[in-house]
């Protein structure tokens, strides 16, 4: 694939339900990041993977949010007991290495709406 792929592109769910958002990074990229963007705001960091392990999960807002990357490639962001305040665009990015001096390649995001 040419770029970072996120599925689904849109997700509407009812309050209290569980959702999974998928990110397929650029092949060979070892670093993967999840961000959340609310309307009119810049993206906010959620979690960063280097390979299979979560190197930094300090941005996850609470224990309803969890992310995995079991084989060091595809990642899934999981949200339990969704709340209306979780509505946002969830963006995934990858970069070749986990070093500071590289650009991040973003997917088109998943727009999550909790009703």
């Amino acid at each position: 694939g040419a770029g970072v792929s996120q599925t689904p592109s849109n997700k509407v769910t009812e309050k209290g339900k569980y959702v999974e958002l998928r990110c397929d990074p650029i092949s060979g990229h070892t670093a993967l990041y999840w961000y959340r963007q609310s309307l009119g705001q810049g993206p906010e960091f959620l979690i960063y993977f280097q390979g299979t392990g979560a190197a930094d999960d300090s941005g996850l807002p609470n224990d309803r949010f969890f992310a995995v990357r079991p084989e060091g490639s595809v990642s899934t962001l999981k949200i339990q007991r969704t709340e209306r305040g979780d509505s946002a665009v969830y963006l995934c990015a990858s970069s070749p290495l986990g070093t500071e001096q590289t650009e991040a390649f973003f997917g088109q995001g998943t727009r999550l709406t909790v009703v």
């Binding site: 309307l39 960091f45 963006l91 990015a93 986990g98 650009e103 991040a104 088109q108």
Partner: protein, 113 residues
């Protein structure tokens, strides 16, 4: 949390004019990056400037960085209607935490024909 502010929040110019956007941040950085976003979805990387650099050019883009003032500016010269988008600055901390980006609040640029 957001790193800082971008100024202006919105900017409307005529095609052919130059557009300048400013970004302020709060903490020590390894580098600062500018991204463009169309229609509130994917972000596209524009340019990266390291903390020991003061100015960088890429095509019609010119970025400056003043670490003493913790500020950066993005200049787009000879703007085109296709430049209409939101522009975000993002900083990478000097803490060895990978390419973890902290974004500003963004500038919405509208270039009119």
């Amino acid at each position: 949390s957001q790193q800082g502010e971008e100024d202006p929040q919105a900017l409307s110019i005529q095609e052919g004019e130059n557009a300048t956007m400013n970004c302020s941040y709060k903490t020590s950085i390894n580098n600062l990056q500018w991204y463009r976003q169309n229609s509130g979805r994917g972000l596209v990387h524009l340019i990266l400037i390291r903390s020991n650099e003061r100015e960088k050019h890429s095509g019609r883009l010119r970025v400056t960085l003043d670490t003493s003032k913790k500020s950066s500016s993005l200049l787009i010269t000879a703007s085109r209607a296709a430049d209409t988008a939101s522009y975000f600055c993002a900083t990478v901390p000097n803490t060895g935490g990978g390419n973890k980006l902290t974004f500003g609040t963004g500038t919405q640029l509208k270039v009119e024909l």
